[in-house]
Amino acid sequence: MAVHRRLEPAAPWVELAVTQEDWDAADPELLRTMLGQLVLIRVFEEYVLELAAAGLIHGPAHSSIGQEGGAVGSVLALTSADQVNGSHRGHHQFLAKALHHVCPKGLDLGAGVPDDVRELLLRTLAEICGLDRGFSHGRGGSMHLQWKDAGAMGTNAIVGGGVPQAAGFAWADRQAGTDAVSVTYFGDGAINIGSTLETFNLAAAWSLPVCFFVENNRYAVSTSVFEATCEARLSGRGPGFGIASWKVDGMDPLAVHLAMQEAVAHMRAGRGPTLVEADTYRIQAHTNADDASRYRTEDEVRRWVPRDPLTRLRAYLVDQGALDATGDAEITAAAEEMAARLRTDMAAEVTVDPMELFEHVTVHRSGQLTEQRELLRAELAADEEVSG
């Protein structure tokens, strides 16, 4: 009779859960910074939804509301030298990384919103609205947010499209002899795409310091992760490739932070790539054009709402006496004042010169592009004459 020996993958697969002791041991300043980031990103995302409803965002706006805990918890384990890229639903990923770059020592909203944070939020919103003050002069839009100085190398409209590029960042860091790591944020949809799985293998084969951060929000547009794959615990993919993998409650920023600290230590020690699966939930519909009632129930959403990372962190801080009613009101007031200023500042926006279309396609400009540019220039001059 055949003998069966149980085989274990060489790489570990663990679920990390925090205890009361972890909460008690957490640095109060870290928790204040988490709260500050969560509040700002939430207010920002609410404003984006408002603009989308008013038709002021061209193309889809993918809301990150409910998922901010994963990005905030993980980014705070990084430095500006660590590069990240992200997904189509990536405002929170970008903002968390950029906020941490602007405020590396922490962000306490009780002290008001710093000017460079206002500037960051304004430029991000301008980018999302396709306006010139954006980081890519509005060309990248909602789904391509980049700011290289902050190590934010670009969110990406193509599902799974940015994943291999993050392995390239890690390769470049290793070649340069630094201990920097890269993180690529993607979702449960992207984990079934070839480029993602190819990159798991490349990164593990070459022991690259890249973290695959899976925001498992349970839906790829309308397709449930339980329909899309047999093993919906997506961190289970890692060990098959030899990648050390963590599963963590993505609605709990502290749990994510602790898991990410372990993953970053693993990578900085030269032990190869990591995978962190954050269980999370997309509280909003897929986009402003979506109708989520066609594929999920109100009940299901209601069950997730109490797990909202912002609500939980705030409740903990109040419970611990780290945040009193006055402090909480100050933070709320700071966020509301910031949002009001953002509204005023956005109104002063200027539009992009259409001739700018032809810049930056490539340095090797073709004859047809030169001709087409002149055609547009003549058309604009003619329009000017008519209207002027």
């Binding site: 290289k148 499209g161 993050a166 390239g168 070839g194 293998n201 930056h360 004859g367």
Partner: protein
Amino acid sequence: MTTTKMTMAQSINAALRDAMTADESVLVFGEDVGALGGVFRVTDGLTETFGERRCFDTPLAESGIVGMAIGMAMNGMRPVVEMQFDAFAYPAFEQIVSHAAKMANRTRGKLRVPLVIRIPYAGGIGGVEHHCDSSEAYYAHTPGLTVLAPATNADAYGLLRAAIESPDPVIFLEPKKHYFSKEEVDLEVPVPPIGRAVVRRSGRDATLIAYGPSVPIALAAARQGAAEGRDIGVVDVRSIVPFDDETVANAVRATGRAVVVAEAPGFASVASEIAARVTERCFHYLEAPVRRVTGFDLPYPPPKLERHFLPGVNRILDAVDELQWEDA
């Protein structure tokens, strides 16, 4: 001028070697390019000379290879990746078209992708389906990509050096049937500019326009035409994108008759684009409509039948004969 007799594979190897020596950020990787030196031996000895950090093998993962190369390029490296065969590059199409080609534009030049994708392309080697595609139109159609197709060993060297120096992505199409053809090459000449065609043979009666593996066929047709009493010129496009309208149009204006020669299936092809551009620019000089001699609109045929598929001297000269000659 010191010239050396070398094959196209050796010329490309020399270009890689010289670029890697000149610039530490130049890296070469792809499937089997290390110890084996590539299936065509183009990267022969590079790992030995530059070490495994500069020239290395990858798993079979074209999308991953190109995507990683983009990430490296965004951080200042200059990767040169090899796709083993033309059709093997298609899994990487998404990374090439949606990311490499668009990054500089999308970020208004803040993130650039100095990446070269080398693709052994086209047929004529008795290969099979997936190993003989002329895939240039897919890339040429995508704004943001520069597409080069050298026909001579000297251009293979020079244009690859230019491609590696480019701050933006380049698709470098190597006519694989010429990998082992020997020619005199001068490695000391300055790097040629991207975007310039060259007149390989001047003629007064008709102009053949070709690139890559079709240039030697066009030259053979011109020689045969001369024996039959027609003075036929040949323009080598070299740079498909950007396209050198001026050189091509000047050559056609001088003759009033033109045939475009290319191996790729003709429908919606680079040959069609060239014919349209020549017609738009030279209409009043033309004595006859511009003709195209291309591969048939078929998947690449099996080895024993490829000679019927590929443009040959007779088919080219037959097309020239149909250019409404007054004495006909």
